[in-house]
């Protein structure tokens, strides 16, 4: 049985497409955006969040339970800590389990015009495994959105295309990422060509370097043919996750004024941009 590796299933989401949605965060992404707010979704391997604030040993609190812990020279791995110091970043779901989870809010999708959003990570990386779930969701008339970079091995997009009602395409036009990558731009244009009859919302994570490279960003947006785009202001809400994954954290929190200047700048070139309120 093919399992789906999921880091989180978040119900009642109000920022991931129309209506109220359940967002499924799938694990695995081929990009490594340095500001990624869900760093646990980058690797497709199993990982653990280690929250040392829960560790009694590190807090110098005596507990007989901790005697067996590897941190005290015992044989019990930290991943088995009964106090939950280590928690898996993901769970593997069968098609049936994931489908049932999504169905919890079926009534809410109907009332609100919402549905399910597959996000990540890059959901296209698990396209194959997703298909049976997508088929069943489609059969129930549930609206399906993909929050994707469209950066995935060839053929993946074609597999899910018939099921997806909305694409939220996260374009990587930051200088630290693929702003100057001609192959990426070409590939993106090609993928968008495949999706031309579909509903697409474009998003861009705004870091200050986008403002600094505004001419190039604008040029690429026009080249790709994007006339409406939502800006997601880079924040530092993922900081704690980096600590728990023992990874270095770099703060890319942006200057909101720059974002406002960028909006006006784009508007001069016929590109309508909005700041996503979340």
């Amino acid at each position: 049985m093919k399992l789906l590796r999921v880091t989180n299933i978040q119900r009642g989401c109000v920022f991931d497409g129309p209506g109220v949605r359940t967002t499924v965060f799938l694990k695995g992404c081929s990009l490594k955006c340095p500001w990624c707010c869900n760093p646990e979704t980058i690797s497709c391997k199993k990982e653990w969040f280690v929250d040392d604030s829960k560790c009694l040993f590190l807090k110098e609190m005596h507990s007989e339970i901790c005697e067996a812990c590897e941190r005290k020279g015992g044989t019990r791995y930290i991943t088995a800590c009964p106090f939950g110091v280590a928690e898996p970043t993901s769970l593997d779901y069968s098609e049936e389990e994931l489908f049932e989870c999504i169905l919890h809010d079926e009534n809410l999708y109907r009332i609100s015009g919402g549905g399910v959003t597959f996000s990540g990570g890059e959901p296209l990386l698990q396209a194959e495994e997703l298909i049976p779930v997508l088929e069943r969701l489609k059969g129930r008339g549930i609206n399906i959105a993909f929050e994707t970079t469209l950066v995935a091995p060839p053929g993946r997009l074609g597999k899910v295309k018939d099921f997806v009602d909305l694409y939220i395409v996260d374009v990587k036009l930051q200088p630290q990422m693929l702003l100057n990558n001609t192959a990426y731009i070409k590939s993106l244009i090609k993928s968008l060509g495949v999706l031309r009859d579909n509903n697409i919302i474009f998003r861009l994570v705004f870091v200050d370097e986008v403002w600094e490279n505004r001419e190039k960003v604008k040029e690429q947006l026009l080249k790709i043919g994007i006339s409406d785009i939502e800006l997601l202001l880079c924040h530092n809400l993922g900081k704690i996750k980096y600590k728990r994954l023992s990874r270095d954290y770099f703060d890319f929190t942006c200057n909101e004024n720059n974002a406002a200047f960028f909006l006006s700048f784009l508007s001069k070139y016929g590109i309508s941009a909005t700041i996503l309120a979340c």
């Binding site: 119900r11 009642g12 109000v14 920022f15 209506g19 109220v20 829960k54 009694l56 609190m61 507990s63 007989e64 339970i65 901790c66 009964p82 106090f83 939950g84 919890h104 809010d105 009534n107 809410l108 009332i111 609100s112 919402g114 309120a277 979340c278």
Partner: protein, 671 residues
């Protein structure tokens, strides 16, 4: 020495005099500690006279009080509630009553007098006729005083007061004055938590008539209502029963009429708009919602909630009315469901239901007793023992009570005159009193912990549990963390958690079913205001709660892993039997980021109602704001928060309530 003298003083003063002294002290507190001279000069404590029948004594007190009431002149409306006058009585006070102000508006004292003259019980007749005369004298005296104080508004109010006692008011403005006049009298006689009821429904005809006659504009109507709300809210200190703000003055909006038609209207919107604008904690709003509740009303309600004032509370009326009918309320009455101040359902204008007169049953208390009593060989046996002890807890709180009387309410509540009985003595159509259970979430979490750690995983023994409770987890913090932070928790959509919760709810219902108070069946609910009061001296519990820490608030999660969607779904899966209707409120604190998507919040709440959630109240606030407000109260003079069934200024709350809100906001922010 001071203490010693105080004790001697106390022992030589007769009880009656002590009560009078206490009364004057209370008046002083209600008046921000005004001077003793002023208290003695302007204040009046009206003690009871034990030598006469308490019903007659009430009327005697009413007569004295009505003669002494001083009303403020030059205000938008006359509100004859004089907080320097205090009625004393020895029986248990009656509170949380919702008068049918629709009937009050139509009331005609001459017509009531005629009905009373046909009454055969002479003493009842004389008593009630006297009450009518006292009301008349008071209104006429105030009318005269207003005329002496010559302004256009005073002359207008004077004309209202002279006329309004004898039939329906002639205008919207006069209707508001009539409601305020009687409302003030009810408060003045020592009846607390007087609900205003369905003002959008009962005022609509007056509004329409005036608009059609061209004597009222929308702007004027809003201005009148604003003055009306401010008048009701001006005596919060004197009206608060426990915590400052706990006045029980609710205005009920929306819902169906007697024909089953949804009634929300332009006035519903005005009330919501005005409360959003005023951002005051008192009065408060409750919205009855159904599938036909207008989307504009939903939007205005959410806007009002998002201002952070914790109002309106949402009552899913279809579910509530259905259960009320099953319990024994007449199906033809339930359309007029109101609440007892907070959330406990009753029938407006027909219920003497006292829905919070008992101590709360502390669900966790019998569990501690069982744990301390010895060992059990299985969870099932322990659970059976718990249920047995829980039965005793429930039985111990429900009692017969000698309530205060109200010959004043008797005039305005259905059936009292026809039955020739005081409102409190079988006169009112319904006298179904209610009890409340506190700490249900703590109990569920403790039971789940015991099952998992003691019986399933066998990592601990009941002896360990006993020791932990005995020492308040001193030196056993590791065990406490396991209990509080790991395993399944109340509020999770999990078969075991839901089944255990429903098991206890069903058992609560079964036990309550054969309990009686004053000869009547009793209702029970799982939203008690006593989550801090009852927990203060309560020992540690096996949900990981330490001695004295607050219990969970109503139906709310204690874990940051349970978000608003999950707790709402969980609540919709709870099966409340027909007597479990005494308020079952989901209480959640939303981070302020939700303000940015109010329409989607509406859909989440509508969905919860569709699925059967009983009642919902929401605070919208961030932990950071609350922490800053606690440290710098001067920066947040107008910060209003929802407490149990009422809203209050954050700065007015005792520290333990502030801390509890901060703690909960932190838990839910992570969720």
């Amino acid at each position: 020495m001071k203490y010693f003298l105080k004790q001697i003083f106390k022992s030589v003063i007769p009880d009656d005099l002590k009560n009078i002294i206490r009364g004057y002290r209370l008046i002083r507190r209600r008046n921000h500690g005004i001077s003793l001279f002023k208290i003695l000069h302007l204040g009046k404590v009206v003690p009871s006279n034990k030598n006469i029948n308490y019903l007659d004594d009430y009327v005697r007190q009413f007569s004295i009080i009505a003669r002494r009431i001083q009303v403020e002149k030059g205000t938008a409306y006359v509100y004859p509630f004089d907080n320097k006058i205090l009625r004393l009585f020895s029986r248990q006070l009656i509170c949380s009553i919702t008068v049918d102000f629709g009937k009050v508006l139509n009331s005609d004292l001459n017509e009531i007098r005629k009905r009373l003259e046909k009454v055969s019980d002479l003493s009842f007749r004389q008593r009630e006729l006297k009450v009518v005369s006292i009301i008349e004298s008071l209104a006429l005296r105030i009318a005269k005083e207003l005329n002496n104080n010559n302004t256009e508004r005073n002359a207008m109010l004077s004309s209202y007061l002279s006329r309004m006692l004898y039939g329906a008011p002639e205008s919207f403005d006069e209707a508001l004055q009539k409601i305020l006049f009687y409302d003030a009298l009810f408060w003045q006689m020592g009846h607390l938590h007087i609900g205003l009821g369905r003002l959008d429904l009962i005022l609509k005809d007056y509004y329409d008539n005036d608009i059609n006659r061209g004597i009222l504009t929308e702007t004027q109507a809003k201005q009148y209502l604003k003055s009306f709300l401010l008048t009701l809210g001006k005596d919060t200190l004197s009206k608060s029963a426990g915590l400052l703000g706990d006045t029980g003055q609710y205005i009920l909006l929306g819902g169906i009429n007697s024909k089953g038609i949804n009634i929300d209207n332009i006035l519903t919107g005005y009330f919501l708009d005005l409360m959003s604008e005023l951002r005051i904690p008192d009065p408060k709003l409750i919205l009855r919602v159904n599938s036909n509740t207008d989307s504009k009303i939903w939007k205005k309600s959410i806007h009002c909630i998002m201002t952070g004032i914790g109002s309106p509370l949402l009552m899913n009326e279809g579910v509530v009315m259905n259960k009320m009918t099953q319990f024994g309320y007449d199906p033809s009455d339930v359309w007029n469901v109101g609440t007892s101040a907070c959330w406990e359902p009753l029938i407006i204008g027909k219920s003497f239901d006292q829905n919070n007169p008992f101590m709360s049953a502390v669900a966790i208390s019998p569990l501690n007793k069982v744990i301390m009593s010895g060992d059990y060989d299985s969870f099932e046996h322990l659970f059976d023992a718990y249920k047995e002890a829980y039965e005793e807890e429930l039985k111990s709180v429900v009692k017969d009570i000698q309530f205060d009387c109200s010959p004043l309410f008797t005039l305005f509540f259905d059936d009292c005159i026809e039955k020739e009985n005081d409102f409190t003595e079988g006169g009112a159509v319904y006298s179904y009193h209610g009890a409340q259970v506190v700490s249900l979430p703590n109990t569920i979490n403790a039971l789940l912990n015991i099952k998992r750690l003691v019986f399933d995983e066998k990592k601990y023994t009941l002896s360990d549990c006993r020791r932990a409770l005995d020492v308040n987890y001193e030196g056993m913090e590791d065990f406490r963390l396991l209990l509080s932070s790991t395993g399944k928790k109340f509020g999770a959509v999990d078969e075991e958690v839901i089944s255990l919760t429903n098991n206890i709810i069903a058992y609560t219902s079964e036990v309550t079913n054969y309990l009686r108070s004053n000869g009547n069946p009793v209702k029970i609910g799982f939203s008690s205001p006593n989550y801090i009061g009852e927990s203060k001296n309560f020992p540690a519990s096996l949900d990981g709660r330490k001695q004295g820490d607050p219990f969970a608030v109503h139906i709310s999660p204690l874990s940051s892993k349970i978000d608003i969607s999950e707790i709402l779904e969980f609540s919709s899966k709870l099966v409340y039997k027909s007597n479990c209707i005494n308020g079952n409120v989901v209480d959640f604190i939303l981070p302020s980021s939700y303000i940015k998507q109010p329409d989607k919040m509406i859909d989440i709440l509508k969905n919860a109602c569709d699925k059967g959630t009983f009642e919902i109240q929401l605070n919208v606030m961030d932990k950071a704001t609350l922490i800053d407000a606690k440290a710098h109260p001067e920066k947040y003079p107008n910060l209003v928060v929802r407490v149990w069934g009422f809203s209050a200024y954050f700065n007015d709350l005792p520290e333990e309530y502030k801390d509890n809100l901060i703690r909960r906001a932190e838990i839910y922010e992570v969720a």
